[in-house]
């Protein structure tokens, strides 16, 4: 078992990693780099052999073959920038979900990676941003 000091140091090292950085501004708190956070999770899935391929199906409900990789030329394609690459390009299915609610009330943004088992489990999603909501009461409006 590691000592408490060692655990604290390990925590500090972990918190200093670029994928774990948080930015706080007037709007709320959010991850400093979403790309790194998603990449970290996808890499972990690949290393542990838990990356699950997801398909886009054609009109006969057959998975469309994915043969091409994303290139720099593709990266400026409007379809790719709108999150809808051509079906022949290998892809990762990512969901972005926004909602207001909870107690204390806040707007939250959660990013999910579908290429894994149980993608809706909170442990398998990335909590990307939170913005506390202040409700004006009667006195505030005066």
């Amino acid at each position: 078992m590691a000592s408490v000091d060692e655990l604290r140091l390990a925590r500090k090292r972990l918190a200093a990693m670029p994928a774990k950085q948080i930015k706080v501004d007037s709007a709320g708190a959010h991850t400093a780099s979403l790309s790194l956070a998603v990449q970290e999770r996808v890499s972990a899935l690949c290393q542990s052999g838990r990356f699950v391929e997801r398909h886009v199906y054609d009109e006969h409900y057959r998975p469309m073959p994915k043969t091409a990789l994303l290139t720099d030329a593709d990266a400026s394609d409007p379809g790719v920038l709108a999150g809808c690459p051509p079906p022949n390009i290998k892809d990762v299915h990512v969901t972005i979900c926004l909602d207001k609610g909870g107690c204390p009330s806040s707007v939250k943004i959660v990013v999910g990676i579908i290429n894994q088992a149980r993608p809706k489990n909170t442990n398998n999603t990335i909590f990307a941003a939170v913005c506390p909501c202040d409700k004006d009461n009667y006195d505030d409006l005066d």
């Binding site: 918190a15 774990k20 706080v24 709007a27 709320g28 708190a29 959010h30 991850t31 979403l34 956070a37 998603v38 990449q39 996808v42 899935l45 690949c46 290393q47 542990s48 990356f51 398909h55 199906y57 409900y61 990789l69 994303l70 290139t71 400026s76 379809g79 790719v80 920038l81 999150g83 892809d91 990762v92 299915h93 990512v94 969901t95 972005i96 979900c97 926004l98 909602d99 609610g101 909870g102 107690c103 806040s106 939250k108 943004i109 959660v110 999910g112 149980r118 993608p119 809706k120 489990n121 909170t122 442990n123 999603t125 990335i126 909590f127 990307a128 941003a129 913005c131 506390p132 202040d134």
Partner: protein, 424 residues
Amino acid sequence: MLKTLAPQVTALLAGGILVDGERRAVRLFLTADYAALCTVLEHKGPSAAMPCLMCLSTQSPSSEHSVLDAKYLTLQDITGSRTLRSSTQFASGARAGRSGGSNDGSSGGNDGCGGGGTPSNRQFAHLSVVLPPLLTVDPRQIVVIPLHLTLGVNGRFLVLATECVLKCKGSAAGLRFTQRLAVLLRDEVGVTPVPYHGGGFIGRDCHPIGDKSDAICQLLLLELTEEYHTAYKRAWLLWNRVRKSLNRAGIATCEEVKQFRVDATALVTHLKRSFPWMNISPKLHLLLCHAADFMHRYGNIGMYGEQAIEAWHGRYGQSARKNSLGSELASAAAFMRAMALAREACESDMARYGSTRKPAALGARKSTKVGDKRLRQNREEVPVCAAKEEKARKDRKKWADDLHEAAADTISAHVRREKRARRE
């Protein structure tokens, strides 16, 4: 908030993700409740003239937008193919809206169709979009909100039962029915309404209500004519089939997708034909026209749903005390930091915390004997304090009154419409 995050999303889309050394593209899906989807896409909302986020169908037939009604159909039409929006139409619609296309008839930017002078042309120019979207997403990749669809349809079915009673037996019988329904849902189904979700039921409760819909139909047996009773029973039967496919997380087979399409169409068609006062809401329209297409294209709907964010609301609330700091924003940041560290997912952790349990055999967790202690009637009663019982009784009464009021409004509007139609 999303404006701050939008450049990061763009960077993610442009940069792609490395998977085993291969650079892959990101297929982005947008999922949230209807209100949040409208906020992200800067759409006017479910009451707009073109309420659907995926297609150009109009709300309901009107003389003002008759040209658009004929060309793109309305939500109330149950047959015909829909014209999908394109991802660029949100931005061009917003430009037209901002340049005054929605008000003064100036030209818009959609496929060469100018704003012109007629209401249809003005509507076509802005497509019910007010501002450029915060995120550009292909409309085919907007998820058909399975959780909120389940919540909405489930709630609508309970109102529908009351509407049928009002139609057959009048207002007093309707109120008596809602009170008995509230008691039945508590005693036989074991669910109670919650203060959030508009005083309705939580998503998990919708499934036992559907499974025990026979009890609701039994309660209606003496209240309705045979015609309405049979129609209502069939509606539950169809919805229960649709509900299960809609919320399943596994990849559907080709037959399941075909069956889902048939069932979803049959459900909405049946509702529209058997209960003439019922309007097709944007959620029912999603089910009728877009849910099966989404399932066909991606093999599943439940997996892409909005369950995760709802679960995060609970987790945030639970951790609020642990991360409590000077201000709400500081507390939120502390929670974010804690969750970023909790997200550490190295190979060894994944293997340790990953799913290792095999799923139970079918029916293994169900009671098989009469004396099984898993059955509600065999459990020891937990004493409940009088104040809690009194509050639950008040909540049930309020829920029943609200249900009756909503149903009465719908039926009286329908009666007025019928009278007006007869006069004309």
